[in-house]
Amino acid sequence: MSSSSTALRELQRDLENKANDLSKLQKDIAKNHQVRKKYTIQLGENELVLKELDLLNEDANVYKLIGPVLVKQDLAEANANVRKRIEYISAELKRLDGSLQDLEEKQHSKREAILKVQQRIQSHQAGKAKA
């Protein structure tokens, strides 16, 4: 009896731990989603800028806002910068996608583990009740 109750307590502790891990995982996944959203918006904006820059004449003035300073930039330079930024953002997005997949898998397996522990607890309790 006591052994089974200690086993039961252990199982419950195990369950708590796993539940905590699961909630952490879920938070991570949520953060991942948020960052992804931000990056996606930035990517869209940069693509818009690229389009507009392409429509400009060669001699048009392009400025970049760096802090409180509006700095004149070369059109070619601005184009290159925007393109590099787009590449960087897409790479970040891909990386985030990969980690998101990872997190989801982990979450899935954690859920299953939790289920198993729950089942064991149930069987324990059923056994206890019978005894």
């Binding site: 400009l56 048009a60 392009v62 970049k64 760096i66 930039q73 930024r85």
Partner: protein, 407 residues
């Protein structure tokens, strides 16, 4: 054709869709809906601002310089002049600015306006979907509250299976989980198509309304009807072969996801209760059935179309409800209701032919088809109330026990 076995199950709706969960789901959908509404409002504001800015930019170059009150700090102004009225420093995005003339600026602004408008349209579509979901959940909740019972009958036949509905019970197509995922994207289009098809069929059915009763479940036809490909005058087919053919056509045209669904309902149909499938029955009935079935089919197919949302499937199911022709007391219990599981949603309703012919002769049954068609007319928007409608429509027929039982 061997005698099809008829099996059936009776499940209480509340057991399939626990009320609390339905309510929770409904609330979630409402939350999402309000979020989207907020976004939509914001976008609309942007569009309005953009339009006024375009106006201003167009007016400024009319003068060489404008006399204005220049804001100074937070709470002061001083008189000043706005010069270089044709030069604009336009924000291109991501802290990049460009010098442009008024005309060029207006062009940039117009392009921005266009992208905003397209975003608004996309949002609108999303809102529509959410609304449909919400209505579905609401109807589910009300049904559960009414303690409706799902009766599912399956007729096992060599070639076809059909689900029959009971009058008072809602018709729901058996849901197949897997189909939902696959069908989601294509479902929306199919759904629209099915709906239009459903309307056509309803009209036809009305025309053929004088056929009399058959308790055939149009579900069988529904499946066939589901595929828009059934443009041929399916309704006219009276023979069973034709009927089956239609079904097959329907199936073939169905999306693969739906197909998987179809196979599932077949299995579910296994439970025939001893009603002999009337597949071979009366040609006259078929005519009617064909119509109703088709109607049902369209309704049913629409279900799979929805993204696995119960709402859609439910709606369709309700439409197809009309298909149940109650044959007799025993049949009543057997009424098969193809119902989509909430979880699975998409599924085809297998048209299940209730053993009509046999019962017809021996028992009185209310010709539900006609009734149903009336329901069908109301169509999807009324899916919620189709159940009630079906009961309402019964009055024209000999009172069936279902009617009595229905509230």
């Amino acid at each position: 054709m061997g005698k099809p076995e008829v099996k059936g199950t009776v499940t209480s709706l509340s057991s399939m869709f626990p009320p609390e969960e339905v309510q929770k789901a409904a609330k979630m959908v409402e939350g999402k809906l309000s979020e989207k509404q907020n976004e939509m409002n914001q976008l609309k504001e942007f569009i309005a601002d953009n339009a006024s800015l375009i106006n201003l930019v167009q007016k400024l170059p009319d003068e060489l310089h404008h006399d204005i009150m220049v804001p100074f700090g937070k709470a002061a102004f001083f008189p000043g002049r706005l010069i270089h009225t044709n030069e604009f420093l336009v924000l291109l995005g991501e802290s990049y600015y460009a010098d442009r003339t008024a005309k060029q600026t207006v062009e940039i602004l117009k392009r921005r306006g266009k992208s905003l408008v397209s975003k608004v349209d996309a949002l609108k579509a999303g809102i529509q979907d959410l609304k449909a979901e919400a209505s579905f959940f609401d109807s589910t909740a009300s049904e559960v509250a009414e303690d409706l019972v799902e009766i599912r009958e399956y007729e096992e036949d060599n070639s076809t299976e059909r689900a029959s509905q009971s009058g008072p019970v809602e018709l729901e197509s058996p849901s197949v989980a897997e189909a939902d995922n696959k069908v989601s994207s294509s479902e929306d289009d199919e759904y629209a198509r099915l709906m239009s098809r459903l309307e056509e069929l309803e009209k036809e059915e009305l025309a053929a309304e004088d056929d009399g009763e058959n308790d055939e479940d149009e579900d069988a036809n529904a499946n066939a009807a589901e595929t828009e490909t059934e443009t041929d005058g399916d309704e006219d087919e009276l023979t069973e072969a034709a009927f089956h053919r239609k079904k097959d056509e329907g199936y073939s045209s169905l999306d693969h996801g739906q197909r998987s669904l179809e196979s599932q309902p077949r299995k579910q149909l296994q439970q025939s209760k001893g009603k002999d499938p009337m597949n071979e029955e009366m040609p006259t009935k078929y005519n009617h059935q064909g119509l109703t079935n088709q109607l049902a089919c369209t309704g049913l197919t629409a279900e799979p179309v929805t993204k696995g949302e119960i709402s859609h499937s439910r709606i369709i199911h309700q439409d197809t409800k009309m298909l149940n022709p109650p044959v007799n007391a025993s049949v009543r219990s057997e009424k098969a209701r193809s119902k989509q599981n909430v979880h699975d949603s998409s599924r085809n309703e297998k048209p299940v032919q209730t053993p009509k012919s046999e019962f017809d002769s021996s028992k009185a049954f209310t010709g539900s088809i006609i009734e149903h068609t009336e329901n069908l007319e109301k169509k999807l928007p009324e899916q919620k109330t189709t159940s009630s409608q079906s009961s309402d429509s019964k009055p024209s027929k000999p009172v069936s026990r279902f009617k009595m039982q229905r509230k």
